[in-house]
Amino acid sequence: MKRESGNNDYFNFKNLFNILKNFLHNNFIKSTVFIWITAVFFFSTSCIVSDEVCRKEKNSRLKVGFYTAILNSSTGNYTLSTLSIDSLTVNGVDSLGNIMDSVLYNNSKNLSSIKLPLNKFSNESKFIIRFNDSIQDTLTVFHTNYDQYLSFECGIIRNHLIDTVLITNHFVDSVKIQEHNVSTIDAEHLQIFHN
């Protein structure tokens, strides 16, 4: 049933095509003008679609999440759960050991993850993280840098590959590298544990 109607459609289409073909043949000049106009239309619209503005994400930041391990007394296993820090202050420390003037996080409340900028012109980035306005730890990230070309409009950006991570153990128990590649792709790179 379906196939028959399909066949009919095909023949109808073919007739239609033949009519069109004959029309083109008999009215060559007219159809030339018509196709000319459509061509100019195509051409002009293709000219309008020129995008000169960058609309891509250009920042690659290190994302650090805070976790705590909770002991399940009945099974004896540890389960991981995100930890929300009541108050957090983060500062960068430059290669000479001086604290940077601008603060990355200033007494920010109830954060379970932070995003930090890694140094684009050095292989080491150091941060002081102050937990709950009392205890502070120093996070040191050793990384290599590589360039990524986005487009002519956006230019080039510098991404990072994490080599090693060091952290002091005042508030923090341990740190784990979850993802080595720090780029514009949103991912959690480091996990900091506190019990």
Partner: protein
């Protein structure tokens, strides 16, 4: 939701073109089975040397942002099959909104074939007017400069300017072409064609890529071009 983007329009355009070609071929096959009249057309019908008018005009309008010149030789076999060789020179010199400069020039070549899409006319006035559709294989070996790419670190401080000069590369692509050609006076022909271009292989993201490719145009997965030609028949 369906959005009528330019890409969709082109897609329908190409699909309808392919259907046109297919129907035409099936019609032609039916005919040869019935009678042998069409075989009277001889194989060699000379060749056409053509120059493109659009590229120099565009060069003028674009303030030499991009420029080009191209010509082609088209052979006429049986008034139905038209093998084509195209050669040209093109380039670009462009400054982006964030002061990046791109500069290139190079020679490009294309080979391909066009097919006559209309039934052969017996009318002497119309015999050399045709609607053609076909494909091209294009390639270009060229070198380019991408300069003044700036990198800066807003937090830690520091900045750097990167320059990539004299990078050479080869690009290949294919084109789907549809066009019209009219005999204006004795051996003088005029015609135009629209072409949809596609790369064979996409660029690896993250690497430095040229903004403009001679013979292809602005870099992108697909691209539409337009030629208006003046030709002489030998």
């Amino acid at each position: 939701m369906f959005q009528p983007s330019m890409q969709n329009i082109y897609r329908y355009f190409i699909i309808s073109l392919l259907i046109t070609v297919a129907v035409n071929f099936s019609a032609a096959q039916n005919k040869t089975a019935g009678s042998d009249k069409s075989s009277e057309v001889k194989w060699w019908n000379g060749f056409l040397v053509k120059m493109d008018v659009v590229s120099p005009v565009v060069t003028g309008f674009s303030d030499s942002e991009h420029f080009g010149m191209e010509g082609s030789v088209q052979f006429n076999l049986k008034r139905k099959i038209f093998p084509v060789y195209e050669i040209g020179f093109g380039g670009a010199d462009k400054l982006s909104s964030n002061a990046i400069r791109f500069n290139t020039n190079g020679v490009f070549q294309r080979i391909g074939v066009d097919f006559g899409l209309l039934k052969q006319s017996n009318d002497k006035e119309l015999i050399n007017n045709m609607l053609t559709g076909g494909v091209r294989l294009g390639w270009s070996n060229f070198s380019y400069d991408l300069t003044n790419l700036s990198l800066s670190d807003d937090y830690w401080g520091g900045s750097q300017t990167l320059n990539f000069e004299g990078r050479s590369t080869t690009k290949t692509w294919y084109e789907i072409v549809v066009g019209i050609q009219v005999q204006v006076y004795k051996n003088l022909y005029m015609g135009w064609n629209i072409r949809n271009r596609h790369f064979f292989k996409e660029d690896t993201s993250g690497n430095i890529v040229p903004w403009y490719i001679p013979g292809y145009g602005k870099s992108g997965s697909s691209n539409t071009g337009f030629n208006y030609t003046i030709g002489y028949h030998f």
